[in-house]
Symmetry: D2
Subunit: 382 residues, 4 copies
């Protein structure tokens, strides 16, 4: 049995969505343990946040550079750092850990300037260190299946790429309400010069490249800011010319009313086309020229290969199945804590199935068997 | 900070899907730790399986009764047992742990006989112990939202319930091929007298009751076995009369060709109707009489209340988002292990985004900004 | 060139939906001409209704028996009668025309009593006359494709049939408001002893038989009336045993809140399954065991054969395309009538595309060509 | 009762899809009669084609100018001409009829040159004649509902327009196979300088303008020809700047593998967004900011107003309902013709429901009533 990878977290104090997602992701397959953190530059808050995550107090740092140095010296030091700060800190933090010989897992966009990105690329390669940028959407089994179909030639020559990422959470000036996520994203000092472009445009760009394997040669673009007073773009439209002649369009918007997180990719080749929609990630539409559209499902033939490597559940069990299951465990946990604390438990809002439900299930089975044996006569449940 | 609940596992040795799901679910919110197990009745295999799960060797039991007694005596003994054996063992195992004062988390169907279920119900209540039956589908946020809508009267008086659970994995005699899951389910000695009825019919029955709060008064049913030579039913059809006058139909089949795991519930009331489809668990269709159908999404208004309590991710991030994220972590973990072992790493099939992708994202941003500033002129990516 | 079939109409005066549908259907392929009618038993109204349909006044009858006799004697008499009366009149009217040697097109249900149906069957066969019952849904190209797939063995042995017809227009006591359609359907004297059962249950029953070719051997059923004071059933649930061993369920309801006209048929065979949904009639889902679901579309491969025989439009042009097209023609017709009458024309609510739109389309083409020639530069529309 | 509008047809001889669509559309509401035609420039073929359409031989013209002159002189001359020739003839034909004072219904694109379009615009206005360009898709009730929502302010200020028209019928060099539709469209002499741009790009452009009421100010565009040897574009991508600040993208392609006729329009405003998909024309998605998406259906609340004016069928009856109905009438017609001719009739491929089906429906009703009366006992069909 492999030991777990030891990781430390920079950024992502209390209330951070993306840090919670990183931690849950690291836990799901039981291959990591979180042992250190620089969760705030304020020492008090750094400690409090760390304790909440069950960290050893002496590994709750207020300074990321300090953390990098000290973890590098410990025999049980972290193997990798997870960087979930606002964009402008990605570069110095990544640099500090790379210089200490520590692998990096970094949120996107990798930096706020292209030359900084070049520095990190060179440094990571020189140090021979792993460096993962969390373009999450490339982790979906069906995105990987799409990529494999392209690589295997199932689409023929690619002609057209249509990719879009539509959200609406910035359709109004949320950044003025004190909402943290919106605030730093709207601030060029922390977000860099790209607004929606950096935040979601880069995801769309990565997914298109990930699946098609094509390189963009040239592009023509326009940025728009629809919400008055906003400093950065909230809308991006781009025409693409790919190496080899394919054409494409990329659209990213954070003012697309009614769109929660609609990342969609369509690729049209000379022989077939695919359509991946991140909001229905368990399926991929595949249409051969002159053939019926196929709804290819994760976990089922013909989505083997790379998709199978990234699959944990059988077909028809959407990936949210784990979360539904975890919800029962969460309810049970709350019931248990209430029990331990001698408090009442709110079963109305935490309706976990109990022995009473189990007993009713048996009564149902019993009644069905009786009715069946009686020629489908009506019988009463016991 | 709450301490984690200590759990032990009975059943679910290597290769068990449902045991893996239980463990992942317990891990997702970081509220449990697995510390003991009776994973096989063969001592050697019990130990090997336990070590794979990083259990202390002395807490790897070959006998569940022994485990119940010894864990009850330890100061750091398990708080709860998780039972994932074939159906016929649910009863004696649950009984053994309840008698030792240990809480129970048990897979469905709870027992194979109604009188056994009554014994467990009585015992759990007498002992004052928690007993959860894992009807997973009731953990979906939108199933809970559906239930809340009913309870709040949004549907008016319920008139019609249509519930169905269609699978096709037993459309052929899979149990004759040595497939373990199929084998014990097809064997009345281990599965009990109900085939598809016990395996999935009980889920459909529970979900309908969970959401509607209605009690079945009478039913008329027919069981069918379509695959020749099979001992138990693989198809169930039932007409339902609910207390209070509602009517319903329940259909469960494991020979429904083309259906992976299609659990669907439709409830029609005097004022509105809802439709929940387990294969698209992030949404619930709601239609008021004379109104447009609404696609209500997890994480978004109006799915607050109970749904919000069971939600971890914002709207538009399907629950599989965690799994996609975890996939990147899994790839990274494999890359790291390869690195540690001095082995090459197969990036072709584990295509995690690297610093090179991060750098390309920055090149994209840079090009878009240049094109935009040049009046949407075509520019070349650096 | 074939001459048009001469038809006469019995029932279906002003405001009748179903009579209008029959007339539009007869007109679509230009194979019929309507030349006679008994549109009301009131002579004045019969004449007025007939004139509205441009009938010769002497062929506007107030008595269907009279019409049958006199049309039978004319050298240019009708070839066929179309019967769109309330249910209780289907039998005597059909009988009267059959006896005069006139072919019959009759709405469903054919009669209100089984023995009457037997009389018509015997009479039509003895007279050697055509008799069509308008089970409209069997006219959909994809319903015919479904039937052909079954007949060709693509599904293997049929095991399970699930058919349902859900409406909600009688969820409230509409028959008490004077609404004509609801009124006679709720009246046992005119509708016969079956409510939802006769009105839509028969459609569901027919479609299932039409597609599968199977004969029902036995059934077990329950009727329910949910709306207080209603004399006939508004909800039907049935379990079916087919000859040869298949099983099925049929559900028909006119109180299924939120359902407009949801007729769905699913057939599961040993090798494949199909799913037809009348509200998306241009597609059929087909799933082979262990294969991806295919969305088979009308007008496209592989829906040839019988579907092609019933197809007028290429794939992707939904059948409503004709209606959209006809809408432009209707707008033009209204504009022309206004012109003839010297009245103003309401272009706001009849927004037909005019020469101005045509000119704008050319300006668009012109601008695109100019931009393209200028390296995708921004150009202004002329 | 209004008299029918008399129309004549120019172009659209045997085998023309679009001419058949025009004729069916004109027939659907029974407001037109076709009385003249210039269906071919070859006198023999013009006559033969005309007879097939039941035209008076003396009104079968071989020359459109001749037809314009002579019809203008007849007291029963045509009120309007329908032009369905290849694009390059639209201009001279429309001009000829306008000059004779005859209204015009013309297929799109209106001309092949912008200056010709200006001439027609000026001429039609000077003559005071009706001129309709058949942008069919604006005839869909839900496209009209979308337009009304915009006009009523339900969307707030429009920010983003995404419109696309994807087909795949020219993904291969179909024009080299002798297929007529493809041949003239690929020929600059007959199609004009725009390929996919003129053929479908203009439809997309019109629909966006029709619904939003916005005027394009500037655009930046690129045309591509993917199929080697083709003279005209088969792919168009355009970025749009609307007057008032909205932004948009337009994409039209005839090499979009797997797309039959996918015309989609999405409009995002400050308060709400809409999504119309021509392949599901009976519904419109509407999403208010922060609200659940509504599936608004034709024929149902809240799609009243303009949509209701363009609606012939109740909700849930897709517009293809008429075609399904017409199919039964077509089958009946074939059966009748076979009968008249003394030939056998192929019921296998023209499966119209007969008196036998009607009788079976009654047997079904009878059995359900018996089972219900017997406590849902199993009964056998008579």
């Amino acid at each position: 049995m492999q030991r777990r990878i030891r990781i430390g977290l920079v950024g992502g104090g209390q209330g951070s969505f993306i840090a919670a997602a990183h931690r849950a992701a690291a836990r799901l397959d039981d291959g990591y343990e979180l042992v250190a953190g620089a969760l705030s530059s304020d020492p008090q808050r750094a400690l409090a946040s760390g304790l909440e995550l069950r960290l050893d107090p002496e590994r709750c740092y207020a300074d990321y550079a300090d953390m990098a140095r000290r973890e590098a010296q410990r025999p049980d030091g972290i193997d990798a750092v997870v960087i979930v700060t606002p964009n402008h800190l990605h570069f110095p933090v990544a640099q500090a850990f790379l210089e200490q010989g520590i692998h990096v897992i970094c949120d996107k966009p990798m930096t706020t300037r292209l030359d900084h990105a070049d520095v990190l690329l060179e440094l990571a390669e020189r140090q021979g260190l792993l460096f993962m940028v969390t373009h999450t959407y490339s982790g979906y089994p069906m995105a990987r299946h799409a990529r494999e179909l392209v690589r295997n030639g199932a689409l023929g020559d690619i002609r057209v790429v249509q990719v879009e990422y539509a959200q609406d959470w910035l359709a109004e000036p949320l950044e003025l309400t004190g909402q943290k996520q919106a605030e730093w994203r709207a601030d060029p000092k922390r977000a860099g010069p790209a607004g929606a472009l950096g935040d979601i445009g880069t995801h769309a760009f990565h997914l298109a490249g990930f699946v098609t394997g094509l390189q963009v040669d040239q592009l023509a673009a326009e940025l728009t800011t629809f919400v008055p007073g906003r400093a950065l773009d909230d809308h991006v439209q781009v025409m693409l010319r790919y190496q080899g002649g394919a054409r494409g369009m990329l659209w990213a918007s954070q003012v697309a009313t009614g769109s929660a997180n609609r990342l969609q990719l369509r690729v049209f080749g000379s022989r077939a086309a695919i359509h991946f929609d991140q909001e229905s990630p368990d399926q991929l539409l595949f249409t051969g020229l002159g053939e019926a559209t196929q709804i290819v499902r994760r976990g089922a033939t013909p989505a083997g290969g790379d998709a199978a490597l990234a699959t944990r559940l059988p077909a028809g069990h959407p990936e949210g199945y784990f979360e539904a299951f975890a919800q029962l465990y969460r309810d049970f946990s709350l019931a248990w804590q209430a029990r331990v604390a001698g408090l009442p438990f709110d079963t109305a809002h935490h309706p976990m199935p109990t022995v009473r439900d189990g007993r009713q299930g048996m009564a149902f089975i019993d009644a069905v068997l009786r009715s069946h044996q009686g020629g489908s006569s009506w019988v009463t449940l016991s």
